[in-house]
Symmetry: C2
Subunit: 256 residues, 2 copies
């Protein structure tokens, strides 16, 4: 199978490398900027273009790993009727292809990618959706070649999944960031809290988060909560978060 990648960001990079490693031909990379296109093309040892009119039109499958807006612009201005067109975005509906492609689908790897951090794609859940059952099966087959964790997920479910991921990844990382700021303030190295962060994530690999919940909020240890709020005097933003999250955790566990 011959594939073209539209986009050269983190998702494009990791996905293209994983597909190539499993024998897919990536014939070309498109990006708006020469530098980005070239970097990914070099990694894949393949061709690139920054001109939409020079995109290889003989591929079997086109992967769109673009921002939501760039994707909408692109799909309106690019047309290869016989090929399969798939986007890799969490929050873009399958319906966005309507009228702009005949065969289309979604191929959404649920992971946080960083450019210079290698990932083991076999452990990354891939959510697929197709415009019909044939396409869906085809995408599932492709997903199974690079990952052990494949799912058929509707656009509606994928949107919720993306929202859940904001909490489980983006907001979680911000909690780490707040912790790092508190430690920095008192001259304690962030190093010291790293094993706790890892164990917190590892715990919910076997326990459900509800059962894994610990801390002063869940047992409503008012004395400790008061001490913490006092320590956060003058840090209005942190104090407000502390209050709200503590209240929510307490409410959730009172219902036990």
């Amino acid at each position: 199978m011959k594939a073209v990648f539209i986009g050269s960001g983190n998702v494009a990079t990791h996905l293209a490398l994983a597909l190539q490693a499993k024998g897919f031909t990536i014939s070309q990379v498109y990006s708006r900027t020469t530098n980005n296109a070239e970097v990914l093309a070099n990694k894949l040892k393949t061709a690139y273009t920054i001109d939409i009119y020079e995109i290889d039109r003989t591929a079997d499958i086109y992967f769109y790993a673009l921002t939501d807006n760039a994707f909408k612009y692109f799909i309106r201005n690019f047309d290869v009727p016989n090929a399969l067109h798939v986007h890799t975005a969490g929050s873009v509906s399958l319906r966005e292809f309507d009228g702009f492609a005949n065969k289309y689908g979604v191929f959404y790897p649920l992971q946080t990618f960083s450019k210079n951090r290698p990932v083991d794609f076999s452990e990354i859940p891939i959510c697929v959706e197709g415009c019909n059952s044939g396409v869906q099966e085809q995408l599932l087959e492709i997903a199974k070649q690079i990952s052990n964790k494949t799912f058929i997920i509707t656009s509606e479910q994928r949107k919720k999944l993306h929202l859940a991921a904001v909490f489980a990844c983006n907001f979680t990382n911000y909690m780490y960031d707040v912790a790092s700021m508190i430690l920095e303030d008192s001259g304690v190295s962030f190093e010291i809290i790293k094993p706790l962060i890892l164990e917190t994530a590892e715990k919910v690999q076997t326990l459900i988060p509800y059962e894994a919940q610990t801390g002063p909020a869940v047992r409503y240890d008012e004395k400790t909560i008061r001490k913490h709020l006092y320590m956060l005097s003058g840090k209005y933003t942190f104090r407000r978060m502390y209050r709200i999250l503590t209240k929510n955790i307490h409410k959730r566990h009172k219902r036990k």
Copy 2:
């Protein structure tokens, strides 16, 4: 060295087992409830008591792994003048021993413990503090026998560390919990988001959280944020958290 454990919760269990594995004699376990005392004593193959007057008074060191209030009550009612007395709490000052012990310190393992989940103590940071430099050195030596990550941390720093841990562990776990509720609502298994949770924690083992931040909030993708807020209509608690955390992340990264 002969040690007695006052308390039989998660910290007591894991710490006592780790010390025993390194050759320490745990001569007795005290707990207020027979069942808890017995469970831990069986694990350690040692004696237990639920009577404060029957605690072995010949030990070299007494570990207090109690709730803050229980600790304060206990230290006022228990006295072995020549022994070393140490508590294991994050948020209790060393000063709480003043007037109730001659030799005392803190031995705080920074980790989230669950009773039936084995932990590798060698990877757990241990924060020690002593009433004088001799005691401090002695506690550091004990810590080094069970862990590769030992730190001398003042009471003031430890309080901040405990607060940071609430964000990095307790609040983080609540973010997982919210994600699990969102997924449950849309019939998607929590399984699918587990690798993302793990990678988010693994990322900050090498990157600082500030640099690891991703998501719609950091790039202020208003369209996605609006979609998410719309999806959370009717879920007031989640919506409020989403708004506040997004705003905070955006503010933090605007200053770049």
